[in-house]
Symmetry: C3
Subunit: 102 residues, 3 copies
């Protein structure tokens, strides 16, 4: 069992934002990152302070969506440089982790 | 593209716990944290060892819920001091990350 | 409020993989880890580059699933040694965090 240094990135969006399809295509087709997973939250709020949430009676169309990916540090750096031009400031976090490889 | 040191916190609860609404109001109204997202898990267990899970036939009413937020370290410290009085020990983790800002 | 050094692990699978039940039983019954949560993603892709996603019209049966757990470093090390024999390389990440304890 070996470890490879990686960076994990989480991007906080909402379903109403148009970025998602474009972002996935970019990460998949252009950057070919190692792994991307998209999660839907059930509630949340960002800098605006506007709460986005779902209940059984009122299905919101603007739930939080988090795009998570990881890759080696240099590649993540390049991707963040690009994404910082299209994603609003304050919506992406990144930290160091280790990927378990062969 | 600049980076701001932040701490990410994840709080592990279940749907049956009453904390969630109160917790969101606290983080939103009082602490005004930068970003909060709530996720529902499909299965999980904690220290008690009791498994919480959902299947198509048996929709559990006590699924895992994770509240994730991030902010600058001093602010997270203050929030954790407060939350540690209302959240059971062993249910909150925190780590250092960088937020991409302008 | 005290802190305990822990490692957080995230394992990236898809619903179609048979690992999940076995993995949960192992973590719950054998390893008795402190906390495990399973999340279903709404979209994602891994090394294969094959996109897994759900839409309202086309419910995929092979959505991404993430198993997250944390425990003290030595215990996580033992678990990773075991899991690296059953989980494909490149599907597990781990990083250091602090658990809030009494």
């Amino acid at each position: 069992m070996n470890r490879l240094d990686v960076r994990i990135v989480r991007i906080y969006l909402t379903e109403a934002e148009v970025h998602l399809g474009e972002l996935m295509r970019h990460l998949h087709d252009v950057e070919k990152v190692r792994g991307v997973t998209v999660f839907r939250g059930i509630s949340g709020f960002g800098r605006s302070g506007v709460m986005h949430s779902s209940t059984l009676l009122d299905m919101s169309l603007d739930l939080p969506v988090v795009v998570e990916f990881f890759d080696v540090p240099e590649k993540v750096e390049t991707i963040l440089e690009h994404l910082s031009q299209v994603i609003e400031p304050g919506h992406m976090v990144e930290w160091s982790a280790r990927l378990i490889v062969e």
